[in-house]
């Protein structure tokens, strides 16, 4: 026993090293479990307030493009007002509430931390649980997609941007609705990879890829990007292409979080289907 203690005392540094290393790696690979813990709330809160402070300074440097985007949005909204329409028949403006049920609500949020140069990039927003944000909500900018909420505290949230190895977006060709998957392979933040394009789809440079609406995260029809260049594979069953993202991830300042008001209903339906399978 004495020898054992002596041994442990002499070699404690190896054990300490192993313990710390295993602890870090366990946290790294169980990130999703950790993200719901109380410690996470505290650390997100601290990081959030520091990053918030720094972004409130750097915000001033991006006022010009932000104003331009706001002006564009204003113009778009004005053109949607009833005054902007020629009223030939008042009946055409009849709104049926049972037919048009509100499905999505948008919460505007400020980007307080963002990166594009890592292999796995995350964005921090200044909205959190208190503002009604939940995990897995989609984040968009105008009609372009940005990412998905992966971690929350009371006033902040982390968004996994499309520039992440774990991000896989289900998209489709705008012209013929053919489904494809979009991933990001690292490197340049402006281009990503389009995987699994069926052989019979004729690809042209500049084809628009939009969200398919198959995942529960984004509604259908948001712009992901346009085809940059493509390769026709000879021996495989699918062709590949690179996509130029419509979103400029390096200049994000204000984004919108999508709140899917029918998400619970969709999930319930999915779960009931799954449980009936077994």
């Amino acid at each position: 026993m004495r020898y054992l203690f002596h041994f442990l005392q002499k070699q404690y540094i190896y054990f300490l090293f192993l313990a710390l290393e295993i602890f870090s790696l366990a946290l790294l690979f169980n990130n999703s479990k950790y993200q719901n813990s109380a410690l996470n709330d505290v650390s997100n809160g601290i990081a959030g307030s520091v990053l918030n402070l720094s972004s409130s300074v750097s915000e001033y440097f991006s006022l010009l493009p932000v104003n331009r985007i706001l002006a564009d949005d204003n113009a778009k909204l004005h053109s949607n007002r009833s005054e902007a329409f020629y009223k030939a028949d008042t009946a055409s403006f009849y709104h049926n509430d049972t037919l048009y049920k509100l499905e999505y609500r948008y919460i505007s949020a400020k980007v307080i931390n963002n990166s594009t140069n890592k292999r796995n990039n995350f964005i921090m927003l200044n909205k959190g649980r208190m503002q009604g944000i939940e995990n897995h909500m989609g984040v968009i900018m105008g009609d372009r997609i940005v990412g998905q909420v992966v971690s929350l505290s009371d006033h902040f949230c982390w968004v996994m941007s499309m520039l992440n190895k774990d991000c896989r977006i289900s998209g489709k060709f705008k012209k013929n609705n053919q489904l494809v998957n979009i991933e990001w392979g690292g490197g340049n933040y402006q281009t990503g990879d389009v995987k699994e394009i069926p052989k019979h789809v004729i690809i042209h440079q500049g084809d628009s890829i939009i969200t398919s609406g198959n995942s529960d995260i984004f509604p259908e029809g948001l712009l992901i990007g346009t085809i940059d260049h493509f390769t026709i594979a000879q021996e495989e069953n699918f062709n590949y292409a690179t996509i130029r993202f419509a979103t400029d991830f390096n200049s994000l300042s204000f984004v919108e979080v999508l709140i899917d008001l029918m998400r619970k209903e969709k999930e319930d339906l999915k779960n009931s289907f799954k449980s009936s399978e077994h």
């Binding site: 404690y12 540094i13 300490l16 090293f17 710390l20 290393e21 602890f23 870090s24 790696l25 366990a26 946290l27 790294l28 690979f29 990130n31 950790y34 996470n40 650390s43 997100n44 601290i46 990081a47 520091v50 990053l51 720094s54 750097s58 931390n113 990166s115 594009t116 140069n117 890592k118 292999r119 796995n120 995350f122 921090m124 992966v150 971690s151 982390w158 190895k165 392979g185 690292g186 490197g187 340049n188 933040y189 390096n250």
Partner: protein
């Protein structure tokens, strides 16, 4: 003793903020992400007990991870270099006595010694970090390129910092 302690805590906070607020925001290319904050581990005094070395490296890595939502990633890489630091020092030491309370520096240990020391630790750290981050081998070439380019920039910053502190002391 207290002075050394306070100076290291100050350096800790400064390097974390510098990394988070400035270096992480620099968009150079997808292949260059300097991680200058490990300068803190390089500069801990020679006689720091190994357990303190490991713990301070762990806390350093964790603090940075909090700001980048990569819990455990930087911590694992930092603990690794804190663990090998004593071995590296023993391996490359030239036999001259290290003074109590002194940190490894370009001025006291010489260019060659300091170059070996920082190159080994920075390369090990960046290798561990980038490979843990991607955790697959099908982007092997890109990842190695990222490791080498980023290490180059980190080392460049470390040497600039050493020369600056050297001239400040004179």
């Amino acid at each position: 003793m207290t002075l050394i302690f306070l100076r290291n805590i100050g350096r800790f906070i400064f390097l974390i903020l510098f990394q988070v607020l400035i270096l992480n925001n620099i968009q150079f290319s997808g292949y260059v992400n300097p991680y200058f904050y490990i300068y803190f581990i390089l500069l801990l005094p020679f006689e720091t007990p190994p357990w303190l070395l490991l713990f301070s490296a762990f806390i350093l890595g964790m603090s940075l991870d909090t700001f980048t939502n990569t819990i455990g990633l930087n911590a694992a890489a930092c603990v690794l270099i804190a663990f090998i630091r004593p071995f590296v020092i023993r391996m490359i030491s030239t036999g001259t006595e290290f003074m109590i309370g002194h940190s490894p520096s370009l001025r006291n240990q010489g260019v060659k010694w300091f170059a070996y020391y920082s190159i080994i630790l920075v390369l090990v750290h960046h290798f561990a970090l980038f490979f843990l981050e991607i955790f697959r081998f099908n982007e092997l070439f890109q990842t190695i390129l990222r490791v080498l380019l980023s290490s180059l920039f980190t080392l460049l910053m470390i040497f600039i910092a050493e020369y600056l502190s050297d001239t400040a002391k004179k």
